[in-house]
């Protein structure tokens, strides 16, 4: 059935190497960017899932805004992520008074800048929290200690690893001082690097965070803090009971306003991966546009190639090729072009993947289905955009084709 079409297609492509390569460029870029974006999303999701799993299954998260409408995790209210927090310190104390709650960790955003004698950093997160944070989040402390209950009224700070290198360089920061909003803090400890990045547990990159006791934080900002989340650890194993306890307590403090969300660990997982999926799909969609552009490029070159090879088509028809066989020949050629582009794109994305792993702390995860999908899409693009030129070739009148040069 193939009667040498594949071989002839490959020779045709090799005949004009540069042209073929440039034609494939759109497909190469499209495939490699889609694969890279999807693998980045996938890798990030796995990191965060790992992080959330390390929380322990008895941690309950209270978030500002109504993120989930109805009972399913699939219907996300993305606006809830961006609006100002509706949680207050009253909520924290209400939750901590519940008998079913063992410990409470607020994530209370204060400001975003801090400085030492020589350096200043203004893209960090100063977070007011409670001494239970390292236990609750399984967060290790590399140097020094997290502040404990006896230090909650004092100006102690625990900093993330990025903050440590940016503000203190090679020095061990423990015991040194740090200025936040004009107030001196003593560095009590440095956190171990955490992999989550921006999308980790509280939309906070722990590596760029400075943790200070809640009471100090409130004093610092005159109560105008932004309470991002409240994490609570259930005392017993009856998670659902604890969730409804918290729900009831908060309903009272919020006077019945439905502007917060209480999530168990698995719901948090669903929520986070839901958000990630949406972003990944969005960016891949943009990347996929270049597949479309690449397809049009392929159609263009196929049309040129057909008018260049008019005579060949005439000869083939004269010696007995049917329209269908001519059609197949050019379809296979377009397909070879896109398939080659797809494979080169995948190789390119593997290289990008290696580079990202070597140079950043991102862990992109290339799965087989992404590659299959990318190649599949490029095959579809190839067929779709070769059909018109191939039909044009097949329907050429053999006489005109033989006469043409």
């Amino acid at each position: 059935m193939w009667n040498g079409n594949v071989k002839s297609a490959i020779t045709a492509l090799r005949q004009s190497k540069w042209r073929s390569l440039l034609t494939m460029m759109g497909i190469i870029i499209g495939v490699s960017s889609v694969v890279t974006v999807v693998s980045l999303g996938e890798g990030l999701k796995q990191q965060i899932v790992g992080q959330i799993n390390s929380l322990g299954s008895n941690v309950i998260t209270v978030r500002s805004g109504k993120l989930v409408s109805g009972s399913t995790e699939n219907s996300l209210n993305l606006l809830g992520f961006f609006s100002a927090s509706t949680l207050t310190n009253k909520d924290v104390s209400a939750v901590s008074k519940l008998p079913s709650v063992q410990s409470v960790v607020p994530i209370d955003f204060v400001t975003n800048s801090a400085k030492t004698g020589g350096h200043e950093m203004d893209n960090l997160y100063v977070i007011g929290t409670s001494p239970d944070l390292p236990i609750l989040l399984n967060q290790k402390v590399n140097y020094g200690d997290f502040f404990d209950d006896s230090q909650t009224g004092q100006n102690f700070a625990v900093i993330g690893s990025n903050v440590a290198t940016r503000l203190f360089g090679e020095l061990n920061p423990v015991g040194h001082s740090l200025v936040i909003s004009g107030v001196n803090f003593t560095v009590e400890g440095v956190l171990a690097p955490s992999p989550g990045g921006l999308l980790s547990i509280a939309e906070t990159d722990f590596n760029s965070a400075v943790f200070i006791p809640t009471t100090v934080a409130n004093g610092l900002a005159n109560g105008h803090t932004d309470l991002l989340q409240i994490l609570a650890q259930s005392r017993g194993s009856d998670l659902n009971g604890t969730v409804s306890d918290i729900q009831n307590a908060l309903n009272q403090t919020h006077n019945g306003a439905d502007d917060f969300t209480v999530l168990k660990q698995d719901q948090l997982l669903g929520l986070t991966s839901g958000v990630l999926n949406i972003f990944t799909a969005f960016i891949s969609g943009i990347a996929a546009i270049s597949l479309l552009v690449g397809g049009i490029g392929i159609m263009d070159i196929m049309l040129v190639s057909i008018s260049e090879r008019t005579r060949e088509i005439g000869i083939r028809k004269a010696i007995g090729a049917t329209n269908r066989q001519i059609l197949n020949q050019f379809l296979v050629e377009g397909l070879a072009l896109t398939l080659a582009g797809g494979f080169i794109g995948i190789i390119l994305s593997l290289l990008i993947n290696l580079g990202l792993r070597a140079d950043t702390n991102l862990q992109p995860e290339i799965t087989v289905w992404v590659m299959v999908l990318a190649v599949g899409v490029s095959v579809i693009v190839g067929i779709f955009f070769s059909v018109i030129p191939a039909f044009k070739a097949a329907r050429k009148n053999p006489i005109d084709a033989l006469r043409g040069e």
Binding site: R311, K317, A318, N323, Q325
Partner: protein
Amino acid sequence: MALIELTDVSKLYGFGDATTLALDEVSLSVERGEFVAVMGPSGSGKTTLMNVIGLLDRPTNGNYLLDGRHADRLRPNRRAKLRRDRIGFVFQNYNLLPRLNVLENVALPLAYKGMTPVRRARRASDMLERVGLREREYFFPRHLSGGQAQRAAIARALINNPNIIIADEPTGNLDSTDSKVVMELLSDIHRQGNTILLVTHNPELTRYANRVIYMYDGMLVGDEFTAIGQMASGARRVYYEKHELTDEDIVSGVSKLLSDVPGKELAPMPRRKTKRRKRAPRRGKAIN
């Protein structure tokens, strides 16, 4: 039953004012095993006639029976298959595909027939042996001399054992030695019972044919049976009997000479097959 039977076949090209009549009610019947030479000036419709007979083109009017079946009403697909299995084309400029080697070129019709690569390579190799190009199998067409390329093209035309070989000026680009080789090859094929239609400008080549037809302005103006080995009398008359050349003849060259061939000067027609249409003499026009 004749192998090829054309009745009042006309072919029009173009639209409106630009319409040209390439074939003007041509009727022709060719028996199996004939070697027909077709002569006539450029633009007289020889190639169009060959294209119609070779199923590359459809007549605008008239009937074409190939082997007793209507060939003018077939679907493109069917026509392609008939071209593949029954008709072999040999062109003036060889028309080998430049990107395929000789063997692949010769095997191409078999590929379109769906034969496996190994079998078609073997068949093509045998066929190349027959035309004396066995040792050139893996050459590309650009590495062949004109005579070799034309022999390869003939091998390709023969590969499916067609019963009709249509050779459109096969020696037009060849020197006399290569021409002789190619013509001997065609003659050999003819002796094995194939029907050959040969378009030529060279009267010498009518020696290979047993019938010569003359065309002028899309009409069939002469039809003559001759013995193989003898030059056709019509062609001979043009070249050997017309001694006085006018200036006009010199200006318009050989085509003009051939245009003087018209049937009325020919020996009495051996058959009544060709319908002749009387026309006003158009010499004055032709020179313009």
